[in-house]
Point group: C2
Chain length 360, copies 2
DNA sequence: GTCTATTTTTGAATCGATCCAAGTTCAGCG
DNA sequence: CGCTGAACTTGGATCGATTCAAAAATAGAC
């Protein structure tokens, strides 16, 4: 029966019920958005008409255009969407962002895309009031794309220098110094570094030249911090192998192969991410090397998983959730200025680091 | 210099550059959305004008209104936003949803809210093409609110019977049967059940009356499954303590206190969630009871963490990511029909279950 | 130089609401 | 009975784009 009237889809809009109720669309609008200013009798009539016609309530699309504000912040990355739920670092960050959004009632829109073209489109068409950018990879492209939108945005883990963008990060030099100092103080003198990318194009042992011309300043800063602390203990840093990975399993393992194939294998590994550190622990275990008895490892990031692995990882902990919280607030309370924050890090000593083996 | 012209914020719109370039809005619009149909000379002129005036590109707000489609799906829950990133079950589900969204290029909007009123508003005003509802708690309210929007939606973990809503779930009875059968077959005869809520108002040992009048049919179904399998082994299910919790630490621990305070303590625990099962393992360890030597435990859900805890948890695994994927597809390929899917579950035997102690 | 076919461009209509200045209604008062 | 002010309503303008039928410009043929 009903279907005979319905037939095809007919989106009922405010104007329809206004007409049905015999009032202007202005009044009909008020019934929904400011009911108190409409006389009760009229209000009831309009509501009844809405009910009868199956009106779904003011369509946010229309409201949005008028109001201008979406009340949601976009979080973008070049990784696939599942990155936000799979990666421990991202998850912790998102928890911080969530907290700030919950507090103000803002929503979160996740933006990502497989290929470059889709990413551009998704960023251009995302319905948000601002962006938080996860710049883990392809950060400069992401920043470039987002800048076009002319909306407030803040970069996280920004890998390169650009004073015109708001960014929140940590003191990489100080953090790295902490990690290297800790190991050197324990007595280690033979080190190897598992590095994040210095630029986009390759992996492998890095030359001083590559370090000098690094695109990703975060990577360079961490290395500088490591070397600063090591030099202070008399370590010849030119002899320390630095293997550049892509922070994934394959390249990290390749790095470990290379490092331990050398004549003098290290007693301590400085990993620029917990991810690599944990892969290293696993790799060493598989080769029968004990952590920390044979080799000590210190990570970087302080993801929750690092406390749970075996042995629990000594690492340089970033205040990840706090970074997320501040990033969200930067967008939520945007005031038109470029905001740059550098937060402190903390060395969390757990069981993956200890004195070097006696025989060494 | 520049600032003297800019002064205050002036949102440049398409009409502005059209005027500046001396073309109609129609043509200006085409330059951006279908550049191939406008003559090169004109296209360049318009683009130059856009560049000169600092135009950010067609505003999605305007486009949206015209196009009608947002190209994003909303995921809603009554929990705070961080639930999506903290809870292992939710995370796995979101990974599945992400996958389906990535495949079609759709975005994800997270919707949630502290209080009831905000939730209603957030659902009413979310810019999405459809909803996926996490009905873990307050599911009926969530469904009610969402129905108002008259958008496609699908419920997950729907706790109650309602044939008018699309939902994706698992065969709770069969899953529970698997769990109980496994334990009974190992020789256990003294059981206790850690149950999810039967209704919203209380926790504690449940009466047959409460089971019969259960609001949450999922809970009831799992219990039915447990009891069916146990009966087949001659266990008097009326003697099996069933403790209703809120699936959190406090109430689960209270349940364990109660259960183990009884004269005949159980040798096996059937937990309706991995969460409770893992809390139980911890609680038992703290009391010096060994799992599975003194007490066996079987969980329900199959979250990734269950494989990592100590001892690894035997559990009834739901195809969580697959549920997420199907939910997303239900919205993405919405055809106007009510879709109900019930997926199978699988018993994953790990180290938390074994034969009962000899002395028992 | 005219006519037809094709390529471009135009401008009004539309999407679905909210806002607001101006107009209407009505009770109370002198 | 007219006047005043408060309480409601109205209808046009606006938000920022896209669409499409019709008009205009251009090209090609004869």
């Amino acid at each position: 029966m009903a279907s005979s009237t319905e037939g095809n889809r007919r989106p009922v809009r405010l104007a329809d019920i206004a007409r049905a109720a015999g009032v202007s669309h202005g009044t009909a609008s008020n019934v929904f958005s400011r009911p108190e200013i409409v006389r009760e009798e009229v209000r009831e009539r309009v509501k009844a008409a809405a009910e009868a016609m199956g009106y779904a309530g003011p369509d946010p699309k229309g409201r949005l255009l008028r109001a201008g504000k979406v009340n949601a912040i976009g979080v973008a990355t070049t990784e696939p969407l599942s990155y936000f739920f799979d990666d421990p670092f991202a998850r912790t960050m998102m928890a911080g962002i969530s907290e700030a959004c919950d507090a103000t009632g803002a929503g979160i829109a996740l933006v990502s895309a497989g290929n470059e073209e889709k990413l551009a489109w998704n960023i251009q068409s995302a319905l948000v009031d601002g962006f938080i950018l996860f710049c883990i990879e392809g950060g400069s492209r992401l920043v470039e794309l987002t800048r076009e939108r002319k909306l407030p945005f803040v970069a996280l883990e920004l890998g390169f220098d650009d004073d015109t963008v708001s960014a929140i990060g940590v003191d990489n030099v100080a953090g790295a110094r902490l990690a290297a100092h800790h190991l050197a103080e324990l007595g280690h003198r033979r080190f190897a570094v598992l590095a994040l990318p210095f630029a986009d194009d390759s992996t492998g042992l890095v030359s001083p030249e590559r370090i000098r011309t690094a695109v990703y300043t975060g990577t360079r800063d961490r290395l500088v911090g490591y070397f600063e602390a090591l030099s202070r203990f008399g370590v010849d840093t030119t002899k320390v192998p630095v293997y550049e990975t892509e922070n994934d399993e394959a390249s990290t393992k390749a790095g470990l192969e290379t490092i331990f194939a050398a004549a003098e294998s290290p007693t301590a590994i400085l990993a620029m991410s917990d991810r690599m550190a944990m892969i290293a622990i696993e790799w060493l275990a598989a080769r029968g090397m004990a952590v920390p008895d044979d080799v000590s490892i210190v990570g970087f990031d302080g993801v929750p998983d690092a406390a749970l692995c075996d042995p629990p990882l000594t690492t340089v902990a970033q205040p990840i959730a706090e970074i997320g919280r501040r990033a969200a607030r930067t967008i939520l309370d945007f005031d038109g200025t470029v905001r740059r924050e550098t937060l402190g890090v903390e060395l969390v000593v757990r069981a993956s680091s200890g004195p070097p083996p006696e025989t060494a």
